[in-house]
Homo-oligomer: 340 residues x 2
């Protein structure tokens, strides 16, 4: 009944991966949780460099590291044999090993033997915590903001993390709540919603953002899209269980088809707002949209401003590209909307 939870500080394990785009998880940790990253472990001089101090397992133990976090994606999701000696040594030394591979860490005999001996945990962030409850639908104290999307993979996690950062800067009491693998690595806790058995989806979302003090905000990372032909049920469960007071719609400028389901059009922002309010009002009748977050990387630089201004005018909501200008405009609007 508790989310997955990681122990920091971390040693980011990069193996022998030299390609920057395959070390995204590690890079995300450095971008968003630099203070939790004690060092990096690289098997060769060619391995991508995240700019953290290089450490051996022994040095990491001495530095008080608690977990080795595998920060690279591997081909096929398996654990390369060349990584095993270092990881086994870490587990033997009592460091938790954290990964989001297809292969379960616990199925690796060397790792499980080493971990059993030292009491280290092998944490597979693809595996939901056990004994999740069925959703009860009861209102919890505290405030919640959910990022929703017109599709998958267009910025819901990034938007939520930037919102957390800007809300904290604005003096709000705030926590990012991770619902997907990379988010869980970054947050150090969370539940992989898409891996939860259907009956427990909204219950898992309830556990993810528990009751909190009245002025506290949870910024919940969205999943899927409420008009997605395959993943809409996940979005539905997350919306019901999160009971958001506020939501931000994330969209990629110019994306017209659902990625990977090109026979389905991307819904309009208007449709997503209307459906999110319609579905979400079951568990929180006060739900409202507080902003639009645009991934404008596909637009020519000189069209960006007009595109955002047009959307802002049309919806009467702050509209930003979080990578370019941050989310402060949305935070200002949020604070104004929810002034006690």
């Amino acid at each position: 009944m508790h989310p997955i939870s990681l122990q920091s500080p971390y040693l980011i394990f990069l193996g022998d991966e030299s390609r920057r785009k395959f070390v995204k998880t590690g890079a995300g940790l450095v971008d968003w949780r630099r203070q939790l990253c004690a060092g990096q472990f690289r098997l060769s001089a060619d391995t991508a460099d995240l700019g953290l101090p290089d450490m051996t397992i022994e040095e990491a133990v001495a530095a008080g590291v608690k977990s080795v976090v595998i920060g690279t994606a591997t081909v096929g999701g398996a654990l390369p044999a060349s990584w095993q000696p270092a990881l086994a040594a870490a587990a033997e030394a009592g460091l938790d090993i954290v990964a989001g591979l297809h292969t379960r860490l616990a199925d690796n005999r060397a790792l499980s033997t080493a971990a059993a001996g030292s009491g280290a945990r092998l944490v597979d962030i693809r595996v939901p915590p056990p004994e999740l409850p069925v959703g009860n639908g009861r209102k919890r104290t505290g405030m919640r903001l959910l990022t929703v999307g017109t599709d998958c993979a267009l910025g819901k996690k990034y938007t939520a993390l930037q919102l957390e950062r800007d809300m904290r800067s604005a003096g709000l009491d705030v926590d990012f709540r991770a619902s997907g693998q990379t988010g869980i690595m970054i947050a150090g806790r969370g539940i992989p919603l898409d891996a939860v058995v259907s009956d427990f989806l909204s219950g898992a979302a309830e556990v993810l953002s528990p009751g909190n003090s009245p002025g506290h905000w949870d910024v919940v990372e969205g999943q899927g899209g409420i008009f997605h032909p395959a993943y809409a049920p996940v979005s539905h469960g997350l919306l019901l269980g999160s009971q958001p007071d506020a939501f931000v719609v994330c969209h990629e400028a110019g994306r017209e088809q659902i990625s990977g389901w090109e026979h389905y059009p991307v819904p309009s922002i208007e449709e997503v707002i209307a459906r999110t309010v319609a579905v979400g009002s079951l568990t929180n009748p006060k739900i409202r949209c507080v902003g639009i977050s645009i991934n404008s990387s596909t637009l020519p630089a000189d069209e960006r401003g007009a595109y955002l201004a047009d959307l802002a005018r049309r919806y009467g909501l702050p509209c930003v590209d979080p990578l370019v200008e941050g989310t402060s405009a949305i935070v200002d609007h949020l604070v104004q909307q929810f002034r006690p």
Copy 2:
């Protein structure tokens, strides 16, 4: 990628359960699939009697029985020790054992040893088939009808089974598609949707009602309720993946609160129709409501007729209690609506 599938004929195993209400699964099999039930197995003279020939395991084998189906609910969902000798003997004789208990049959050493020796299968109908795909959202040939509900446990399965029977009587080519445990027992195949991992929900629903000949109808057993605070995501996935051309709304007269979630009101039939069309039109824009099925057991007999007539007038749709008058009025309307 295939639904669970049972081999008939069956021996219905009733153990030593004397209370009629705990042998509902067995009774459902006799009600809806009498032709597949070769006999019943009762451990004592007190055991409930479904009116089938009593058979020993040896007699069942001689009669060509292929599966022993456990037709009772047990306290806590465990397998009573007193049942094991007979079930192990059946597995040893090569009969599949089929159950929907909380305990997995495969975790019972005597049963798994016996089954391994003979090649019999231990079929846990709570366990979804492996390797379900992610939904692809592509239109399949054939026609589909889904039963949906204002809440759980008010007649979606019964309505679907009666529709199958009445559609067949009307000369239609039709199959009942089971999405829940009891339904799977009755149909001899299906997928327990609520046990499927969220990412694969709509894909599982697609596998459940595969492409078929153009005039063929699948009558898909609904799950949950699209306004249910816990189970709406399951209903959502089933609706998207079933791509129904037609749906029937099931409701219990007088039920005002969601059963077990009494802080939530039961939605109106009108709201359920509107939301089902809104959500379902993503994968089938032609979706329409073709009837209302009322569980009127809570009404005084002299109010029933007026209640149904009022609903029929208000919605302009056939409105029946399937237990009382069957579903022929809905079938007539369906045939008229979908006349080629």
